[in-house]
Structure formats: structure tokens, C-alpha cells
């Protein structure tokens, strides 16, 4: 596969503050990458540097093998969908979609058929003559994406365009964006703070925090094999607690936390005895059990909160033995509909391969 985008040691500082810190990313032709992270993590700055609206303080950006740092946005072959869409309010849907074709000097005879093609692609064929304010939120999204794609750019950039939509429409548009992206095979970088969106839409995810890419991999990989505490905590519903390594084996470590001994997965990293670690476990991996013998780890705790979410119940369990840690877990039995009331003492069980142990930061 050929490389479409290459970001090499790119940094950006604003007034001495490092917003993006030596980021490296490679994107192959046709791939859909989502950069996900909390607000202020530098993801939008990185996207704007790729688009050409910001100039990197250091590093190289290559698109289609050409260095682009000093090339203005209008000379790059990039379609971008903005967070607030930025449709031209004085132009109809069709005029919006035609705008990049005109500016990029497409053959005038070609333009109407291209506009038509892309409005059909986003299922807005009948709305060509409508102005943005005459369209619904979802329809405006579609115009924005048709406008960003009509000139067949090398690269499509999405700057949280779905964040303003309500949940249902957002989930619908996630699938729609993905369908269009796959239909055209356009290389895409999406930026979001929504981990679910990242998992649903992407071929690959890069998790960013404090200007640094924490981990970069497929959604399944990111979810099942997080490399550090931040990634484990950011993706999925995760409970964290501290411990100390007291024995190490082949891929498995024994961790003492509070006054219990737990079996955890060391993620192929060597964790010597007495290393302080952060343990992380996902809510769906913890079970409320009667018989602990089938699980590698088992603790007793008291139910603190119970949140009924319809398809599942989220329990927060206070575990005195784990140094007072609070563990979140999902529970749902579609047959018995068994529920546990607050303050009930329960036994929890989970397996060693689902408990991640990460070396705690040195400063602590």
C-alpha cells in the first residue's frame, strides 16, 4: 500500500506552550484514521497543520510524497469538513458543492454532472436548490461532505463535524460517513473526542493526550491491548487502582493491591518485582459471581450505586480489600433479570488476561 500522509516529528507551539509534541503518523491510501483524545490534547492543531491552516514549528508533513508545510491550503488537495460545517449561507446546496470545482478550474461543462453525482452520493439529489438554512442538521452535514469530496481530493479531513448532532443522528451519520468513505476509497483523517465514534468508524485509531500520540492501532487492538493507563482509561469504561508487582511470570504478573494478590497481564513488558503499577479493568470483564473458582481473581465488595440503562445495569462496587477502589461493572441477565440492591455484599470475579498492569509513571 502506498503512503498518502506522513507526519514526521511534527511539533507546534503557541506562545511557548507545546500543543503538538513530536508527533509521528503514517496513513496509507484509502485508510480511515481517527485521532481521538480529550479537548486540548492537540488533535485539532495537528489536523489544521495537515490542512495548511497552521504551520508546524518543527517537523515534516508529506502528502502524496510531497512536502507541504509551506504550501497554502488552496494549493493542497484536501477536502475538509469543519466542526461548524462552514457552509456558504448565500449559496444553494448545489452552488456549495460546485464552489471547489470552480475554484480549482474544472472544465465548466463538467461541473453540473459532478455536482449532481456528489449530491446523489449523499442522498440529497432533490435538495440541490435549497439554501443551507432551509436544510436540516443532517442534510447540512451531507452538503458539507459532498462539498469536501466533489473535487476528488487526495485526503479528506473531518474536524469533529458530528459533535453538534444529537445522539441518534450522530450514530446514523457515523455510518453514513463510513459508507461514503468506503465507496470512494478516499483517505480520511477524522478528529473526535468521542471514543465510540472512533471505534465505529475507523480502520485505525490514534489516541492523543497532551500533544503526544499515546498509541496508534486498529480499533480492536486499541481496545484489547492498550499500551498505557491513559489509553486503557480513555477507551471503554475502565476502573483503575494501584498495586505493586510481587512475582513475574510469562506474560503474567502477580500484583499486590491493598491486601489481595491478583493475577494480571503485563502486556509483554518486563515488570520487575516491586515495580509500582496501575491496574486497569473494563466494566464488561468483571462478573458478579457465586462460585469464584472459574476466575483467576476474586474479591468481595459492597454495591454503592446502581444505574439502570435499559439494556444493561451499571454497578459501582466499593472494594475495601483493594485499598478502597471503586470498580464499575456491567451486569445483565436477560433470562433471570436478577438485580442487586445497593449495599449488598457481592463477590466479583475476573480473569488475569483482562486485568492490565501498566508501570506507574516514575514521578509518582
Amino acid at each position: 500500500m502506498s503512503r498518502m500522509v506522513e507526519v514526521k516529528d511534527v511539533s507546534k507551539s503557541f506562545d511557548g506552550t507545546l500543543a503538538v509534541n513530536a508527533v509521528n503518523l503514517v496513513l496509507n491510501r484509502g485508510e480511515f484514521l481517527t485521532i481521538v483524545g480529550p479537548s486540548g490534547c492537540g488533535k485539532t492543531t495537528l489536523l489544521r497543520m495537515i490542512a495548511g491552516f497552521e504551520v508546524p514549528s518543527a517537523g515534516e508533513i508529506r502528502i502524496n510524497n510531497d512536502r507541504v508545510e509551506s504550501i497554502p491550503p488552496y494549493r493542497r488537495s484536501i477536502g475538509m469538513v469543519f466542526q461548524k460545517l462552514a457552509l456558504f449561507p448565500h449559496m444553494t446546496a448545489a452552488q456549495n458543492v460546485a464552489y471547489p470545482l470552480k475554484m480549482r478550474r474544472f472544465e465548466p461543462a463538467q461541473i453540473p454532472s459532478l455536482v449532481d453525482k456528489y449530491l446523489q452520493l449523499v442522498q440529497l439529489g432533490d435538495y440541490a436548490g435549497r439554501y443551507p438554512h432551509e436544510l436540516s442538521g443532517g442534510q447540512q452535514q451531507r452538503v458539507a461532505i459532498a462539498r469536501a469530496l466533489s473535487f476528488s481530493p487526495d485526503l479528506l479531513l473531518l474536524d469533529e463535524p458530528l459533535s453538534a448532532l444529537d445522539k441518534k443522528l450522530r450514530e446514523e451519520m457515523q455510518l453514513e460517513f463510513r459508507r461514503i468513505q468506503q465507496e470512494l476509497g478516499v483517505t480520511t483523517i477524522n478528529v473526535t473526542h468521542d471514543q465510540r465514534e472512533a471505534l465505529v468508524m475507523s480502520d485505525r485509531i490514534a489516541v492523543m493526550n497532551e500533544g503526544v500520540v499515546q498509541q496508534d492501532g486498529t480499533p480492536v487492538d486499541m481496545y484489547r491491548n492498550p499500551e498505557n493507563r491513559f489509553v486503557a482509561n480513555f477507551i471503554g469504561m475502565t476502573s483503575l487502582f494501584e498495586g505493586t508487582v510481587c512475582a513475574t511470570g510469562d506474560g503474567v504478573v502477580s500484583v499486590k493491591s491493598g491486601n489481595v494478590l491478583l493475577q494480571a497481564r503485563s502486556n509483554d513488558k518486563v515488570l520487575p518485582v516491586n515495580t509500582r503499577v496501575d491496574c486497569a479493568i473494563r466494566a464488561e470483564q468483571i462478573r458478579i459471581v457465586e462460585d469464584a473458582s472459574v476466575y483467576d481473581n476474586s474479591v468481595f465488595g459492597t454495591i454503592e450505586h446502581r444505574i439502570f440503562e435499559g439494556d444493561r445495569i451499571v454497578y459501582t462496587v466499593h472494594v475495601e480489600d483493594l485499598g478502597g477502589a471503586r470498580l464499575h461493572l456491567f451486569d445483565h441477565d436477560p433470562v433471570s433479570h436478577k438485580e442487586y440492591p445497593a449495599n449488598e455484599r457481592v463477590r466479583l470475579g475476573w480473569n488475569a488476561r483482562d486485568l492490565f498492569a501498566f508501570q506507574a509513571p516514575q514521578s509518582n
Partner: protein
Amino acid sequence: MQRNQIIRTRLGWTLLDGVERLVSALWPARFKGSVGRVLLLPAVLLIGILVIGLGYMIEYSFHELDLSTYRLKDEYSLVNYAVIADRPVYMRVLNRTLLAALIVSVTTVFLAFPYAYMLVRTRSALTRKFLLIALFLPFFIGQVVRAYGWLIILGKQGLINSLLEGLGLPTLNLIYNYPSVIFGLIQYMLPFAILLIVPAVAAISEDVELASEGLGANWISTFRYIVLPLARPGLIGAFVVVFTLTLTDFAMPEILGGGTTDFIASAIYDSFFQLSNAGLGAALSMILVMIGSVIVAAIFYLAGTGTLGVREQSR
């Protein structure tokens, strides 16, 4: 300290509750819908009085001055209008005024736009502060004072001419001519135009300009196809305001023109107070009102109802 604060807060709440109760007693909730209309009343009254005045002017303009009594005759006639059509001086003054209004409004809008754009878009707080102060300072100085200021600078013994004299160069006639009046008017109108254009530029989202650039437009195209059309209501509003203000201006041609370049307002003033001919003055006023209204109406018609941003807001 803490106790005092609590007592004061309680007292504040009690007072507010009292005021609210009083208001609701005086103004029952079912009248609420009419609050807006009641607040509109002063403005409506003011315009109403203006309309009455205009009615009197129309009436005056159809009565000839009786030179034996120096009062308007009772019978209706078109004599005043005939006099205006008959004397070339009025046509000349009218043409001069219209031409000045056109030059001044085009130039002013042209100069005001970059200023307004910069004011809205600059990232430097210092630049914005400077531009704002420079914008509002002239409002504290009246038109007459400013015109005299120009006399001091441009006059026969003014700053520039003394400088030229000092350098051994011949002095120049910088005032009491048409260009100096135009110059003074542009300088006077500029802040008005900027103030009218600023909201229009501020309403253009910066993302829209970035989007245009990302879609392949350089800044010239972005300006032409995106910024200009979106700022149009403000530009037309500024044009109309500057045009009508210039059309009816009195002080600048009077002071900087020094009687050589009278505008129609000077002619109206002279008719009323020099010739004591209220009929003629009223007729001239009517012509001015007519011309102004027709031109403004034509601009609004040609530019569509979208002018001045008074229409349903497109997001």
C-alpha cells in the same frame, strides 16, 4: 461579617420580591405581550411629529411669497417649483450635491471596509484597541469643530502653507473648493460607515473563509465570492447612510466651501433665512426629500430586501 452578608442578601431578595409584586400589581401578566409595543411608542411619536412637519412643508411649497407683505399667499400654485426649474443656479447646486454624495459614499465605503475587516479579524488586542479608539475619537469632536480644524491645517495661513512658505515654495489654495469639501465629508463619514460595516463582517464566520481557502480559493477569490457577498447588507447600509447624510449636509460645504460650493441644504437655509421665502425653501426641501427617497428606494429595490440584514437570519 458573614452574618452581615447574609442579612444583606436576604434584604436584597425581600426588596426584589417587593418590586416584582408591585410591578405585577401595576402591570398584570395578561398585558405582557404589549410591553414591546408600549416601548415602541416614543419612537413612533417622534416619527409622527416628523411626518406632521413634512406635511406642513408640502403645504408651504405650494404657496407663492407675496412680496408686498412678505407672507405666503393663500392660493395654491406651482410658482416655487417653476422658479427652481427656471433658475440654472438651483440645477447646478443640485447636481453638485448629488455628485458629491456619490463620490463621498463610494469612496467612504471603499475606505471603511478594510478598516472594519481588520477591526473584526485582527488577533492582536493592541491593534483592535487602537482601531476602536481611532474610530470613536472623531465622534467626540463635532462636525463644525472638525471643519474648523481643517481650516487651521489647510487654510491660507494654515499649517501646510506656512510649511511650504518656510521651504520657499509657493502657497496652495487648499480650501474653499470642491475637493476640500469632498475631503472633509469623507473624513466625517468614515466612522459612520465603519460602524455600519463592522457587524456585517463580524457575522461572517471565520470558518467560512477558511473553508473557502481549503476548497481551493486564494484570498482574492475568497474575498470576491464569499466575504463581499456576505458583507453586502452592511456595505449597502453604509452606502445609503453616507449618501443621505452627504446629500443633506450643511456644515462642511458651508465652512470648507466658504460659499463657493453650496450644497442644496445651504440653498434651503438661504431661502428660509436670507430670502425669508418659506415657500421656496419648502419646495427645495421637497425636491431634496423626493430625490433622496427615490434613490434609496431604488437601491433597496435593486439590492433586494436583504439590505441592512433585516430579514430572517440565515445561519
